[in-house]
Symmetry: C2
DNA sequence: CGAATAAAGTAAATACATTGACATATATTC
DNA sequence: GAATATATGTCAATGTATTTACTTTATTCG
């Protein structure tokens, strides 16, 4: 069947594809599959991978006492307009609060609620650990370090390509 | 300024983040930046990175004479509903055609138009090569091979996590 | 052959993510 | 201090991606 030929060539399509092309194609596929499987892993809590990234960021010591939306957007490398939307959903679910900054009437300070902190620590954390274990099965510590190294390197190049200054 | 502290810790946020978490966070950031910078690189032609992936796939020898939407979706690892939307835009731009398969009244066969093939070869290809060169600056051939290896490995794990059978 | 199964297209709801544009508030500079 | 510049939130448009659900057409199996 033609179907099988087209659907089972993950192993074959590297031969003529070119290294650079293949690298970016795999990055594209991996990111999609990460969102798909990651969101499914946290489905019982109605949290997506992007929301998970935000909640995780908010547990960082530096952001423990609240963080401005602009700073959070800069940390995640997403636009503030996009972040605002996800934050609205997290706020509606009661996981975070937006408070007006004292020294700046424009700015809102994002903070984890107690419920959000509990959700993260008690519910999400164990599932996330299981997810990492499954997704990185067969990856040694060195493998992870090397993979991160390449992604870091790529990210620096992409950031340099982005006209957006880092202010 | 607090701003600078929050916005310049790409190098610092690895220390306490955990290897697995950091790997997925970088994957998330890289994918977003790839779409952002890649789409900008091809902006003169109004083509996004996803459309670029599809046009590239259609130039594969195996798909040269047309490919079914289901097979193309399986190759790209996206849902056929998503693919249908992108194909509509590509069709509206005249880059591809959808013809009804002779042996199956349900199925549509996707083919590159002459205009689409020319756009790919004459216009997009050079810009894509420039983009790859910039995004992978400092990557040796071995670096690329190793990076692909890790992404392949990760993708296999993610695919195994996905309930979707490969039929 | 006829019934169950599978595959294809489509529609709709939801969520991410980008850009451009705008109003308002804060900072900088002269 | 006033003019300029920058930061912030928001609105709107567009594109990508998922899931669920439904209809129609093929295929398979009994």
């Amino acid at each position: 069947m033609k179907k099988d030929a087209a659907r089972n060539n993950h192993k074959v399509d590297g031969v003529a594809l070119g290294l650079s092309n293949r690298l970016f194609f795999r990055l594209y596929q991996c990111a999609n599959m990460m969102h798909k499987t990651g969101t499914k892993a946290l489905e019982p809590h109605g949290v997506t991978t992007q929301q998970w990234a935000i909640l995780g960021a908010l547990t960082r010591p530096a952001f423990e006492h609240g963080v401005a939306v602009g700073d959070l957007a800069a940390y995640l490398l997403v636009s503030r307009q996009n972040l605002a939307g996800v934050l609205s959903r997290l706020e509606a679910q009661g996981h975070i609060v937006r408070t007006v900054a004292e020294s700046d009437n424009r700015s809102r300070l994002i903070k984890l609620t107690d419920a959000g902190r509990t959700l993260w620590a008690e519910e999400m954390r164990p599932r996330i650990d299981d997810y990492y274990a499954a997704a990185l099965d067969g990856f040694s510590t060195d493998d992870r370090i090397h993979a991160i190294h390449y992604l870091d390197k790529l990210l620096r190049n992409l950031a340099a390509l982005d006209p957006e200054p880092e202010h």
